[in-house]
Symmetry: C2
Subunit: 465 residues, 2 copies
């Protein structure tokens, strides 16, 4: 390992220029889901290509079924024997509305103190993901300036559909996997555990969705005339949904837990050590009593245990007042959060069988498969990338990085796993108070500085004297 | 009893004039719920007042909180010792739209053959209730013409809000009960059992409605971030609804069946003798398997057993596609059909307690009481009115009248019971194919003729030589 001291000094010394570049990127209103901003997305992508080119990368735009994809590649001298890293970020941002809730215009970045009293960069995309992706680019730039070359082959991939349709990048990776013979993916789009404790995310839950409609009588009927002998599909659906969990919060769909591995004891201990304030977490959303699977802490439930959630339900009369209707059908929208080892195809099949087993023979159920199709991910905690990141993060923050999980899915992680056959290293520096997706999104100036310095330290882990 | 032969001959002889008068009444587009037809309602009411006056009644309009109420009273010579009958009908009709589905204009009555091949009067209100109410008025008119006086005191009450807000007549009866010291109410607004078999309705189910909203987290949450430890109100509501019936279709709400009397064995036998085609009844609505309370036939379930029906349900995301939301609340709209002996107030209370017993302590439930508030009615089958009607109907149709029930409520029956303390005699002559409330409503010419003749025979039962 090369000591990163000179690179860190360079980062600090030229930090105003890093900030200026980030501000340039933040000024593009690159809302990927809004066709009115297609030009802005392309402009942001071109700006990134120019930056990468300026850093000595071979860079350009690749066409996808969505927004243009920025791809830059760096080949160090004698690179053939060096590992090949893919760095991933996204230049698209969430829509900025409601605009009236912003203190300063979302695409005119400003530095001012946030609620915590720290200086922060306020702009849409400040943390998600422009500020975060720039930590890596700025670290690479400074490393190159000091040392002339990076200690690995590097492909930078910055997409424009992360906040929208994630199938675009998936299709691209599927079709072009051979162009990316990489050894690992680095992603900077996650949070610190707390303002002083860095985190590496090694677990993400997958998500599959399914909509079920139970059909009973062929038309809506008068509940006075027909009520009694005629089956009510809302009752049938309610019974199915109520049967889906047992008294201990365990999901009763046969085969649902097939392939789910126990949480490693070491990880459970580490998570317990985080002293997650479950009471406050529930209190903040107006609840007091932990629901979910008994025998697991709230963190374990969110990071390492699958769920079956009903996201919506509807059937019969939904207007004001009363209508004595016996409805023809009722629908529920469900999503299942999956953990590593669960097979989305099998789970959907098992759910359908579970519903059909509970249907009276003269009722029918139809299904729409929707709402994601991602597997749960658990990254091995013993890879060179995680070891390097742990060491580097400890040096930068003076604290051990914690291995955390995420209840949500980051679909591109599964795309990398599926199409490029690589694990991702998920390291990020944003804070829980950064208001990603909300008005007044921010990124602390310290997050940007320490993030950049941390990446330099990670790069150093791979450099040989 | 006076033999009705001469009155029946008079009815038949002047039948074209009866038809002409019915046509006059059918020409008023007296849609009670449509303010644009307020004038037409008043005109129909005035026409009825004029008819009653012409028959020798003291008649006029009484003001209600809704449409004007037609009230006519007839006092026979020496009437003090005679029973006092209230005849009830309604001059308001359902809206006629969709107009394009009518073969002839809804307010231009025509006689043509119906699908059954019988001559029928086609018009909105033909059966519901103008044709039916006119059977009684025409019978009374012919009786008066032949005999000079009726064998009972008679108050005719024809309202204009039956298809709309039934609280108007209820309030009126409550406020003016002393003006109507009657012994029984006769209502002509029901069906025959089949085209050849007359029916007397002795049981009506009441109806109460309640909407329940289960509230969990104080805002909608991301089901990836919160799914697991956070309670889902759709699941809570589904569990409540699923628990409301046991495996045998019995309602599990404690106290729900308090006051419900067993169906008299004689009535069960009579209903069984009707050979109700439950299989066809279910088949017609696309079902095959009887649901509801085991141990009871379909007819018993509809006529004499209470139900708990979910008329509507909604919560969370209900748009197209998927949304990974963990919703803050979920709502169900319920109605309970009640039978005689059940107390609506107690049932509502018991349901609320049932819900609350099943709520996790950090969830809340709120309720809206709506959708009717009527008790179930069971008329004694051994009254002079029913005996008279049975004898008269047998004479007219050559078949025993069957005592039937109705799954629905006729709120005015409860109003008569509550405010005037009298039972109602429910006799009607319309057919299941009359399309009440639908386009091409009709009333068979035979229904009108036999109905008129049947009432004459009922009147005869009370006449002394």
């Amino acid at each position: 390992m090369v000591h990163p001291a000179t690179v860190l000094a360079e980062i600090d010394q030229q930090f105003p220029e890093s900030l200026a570049r980030l501000f340039d990127l933040l000024r593009f209103p690159s809302v990927g889901t809004d066709p009115a901003h297609a030009k802005d997305c392309r402009a942001a992508a071109r700006w990134l290509v120019a930056e990468l080119t300026g850093m000595g990368f071979k860079a350009g735009l690749r066409q996808t079924t969505g927004q243009p994809l920025v791809v830059g590649s760096y080949e160090p001298p004698g690179g053939g024997r060096l590992p090949h890293i893919l760095f991933y970020g996204h230049y698209d941002v969430q829509p900025a509305d409601p605009l009236e809730l912003w203190t300063s215009p979302p695409f005119e970045p400003r530095i001012r103190k946030g609620k915590s009293g720290k200086d922060a960069i306020f702009a849409r995309g400040a943390c998600d993901d422009k500020g975060q992706l720039m930590t890596f680019l700025e670290a690479s730039r400074c490393w190159l300036k000091v040392h002339g070359s990076l200690p690995f082959r590097l492909t930078v991939m910055i997409e424009g559909d992360e906040e929208g349709d994630t199938s675009h990048i998936d299709s691209f990776l599927k079709a072009n996997a051979r162009d990316f013979p990489v050894d690992a993916a680095f992603i900077c789009d996650t949070e610190m555990w707390d303002p002083r404790t860095p985190a590496i995310n090694t677990r993400l839950r997958g998500c599959i969705g399914i909509e079920v409609t139970v059909k009973g009588p062929k038309i809506d009927l008068h509940s006075g005339l027909y009520g009694g002998p005629v089956r009510n599909p809302i009752k049938v659906l309610s019974a199915v949904l109520a049967a889906m969990h047992d008294r201990r919060g365990r999901i009763t769909i046969p085969g649902f837990y097939d392939g789910v591995k126990p949480i490693p004891a070491k990880l459970r201990r580490q998570w317990a050590g985080l002293k997650f304030p479950a009471k406050k977490f529930l209190g903040d959303v107006g609840l007091a009593i932990p629901a979910g699977e008994q025998g697991y802490s709230a963190l374990e439930q969110m990071w390492a245990r699958p769920t079956a959630e009903v996201n919506g339900i509807f059937g019969g009369y939904r207007g004001v007042g009363s209508k004595t209707v016996l409805p023809a059908e009722a629908t529920a929208k469900l999503t299942f959060r999956l953990v590593e080892g669960q097979d989305p195809v099998k789970i959907r099949k098992a759910f359908k069988a579970f519903v059909k087993d509970r249907l009276p023979p003269d009722c029918k159920a139809s299904f729409i498969e929707d709402g994601g199709d991602s597997r749960g991910i658990a990254v091995s905690e013993d890879t060179p990338w995680i070891r390097a990141a742990k060491a580097a993060l400890k040096d930068e923050f003076g604290r051990e990085a914690v291995l955390v999980g995420g209840g949500f899915s980051i679909p591109v992680v599964e795309s990398f796993k599926t199409h490029l056959k690589v694990d991702s290293l998920l390291v990020g520096f944003s804070g829980a108070d950064d208001s990603a997706h909300s008005p007044n999104e921010k990124y602390d100036v310290d997050s940007f500085r320490h993030g950049t310095r941390a990446w330099a330290r990670i790069i150093a882990q791979f450099a040989k004297e």
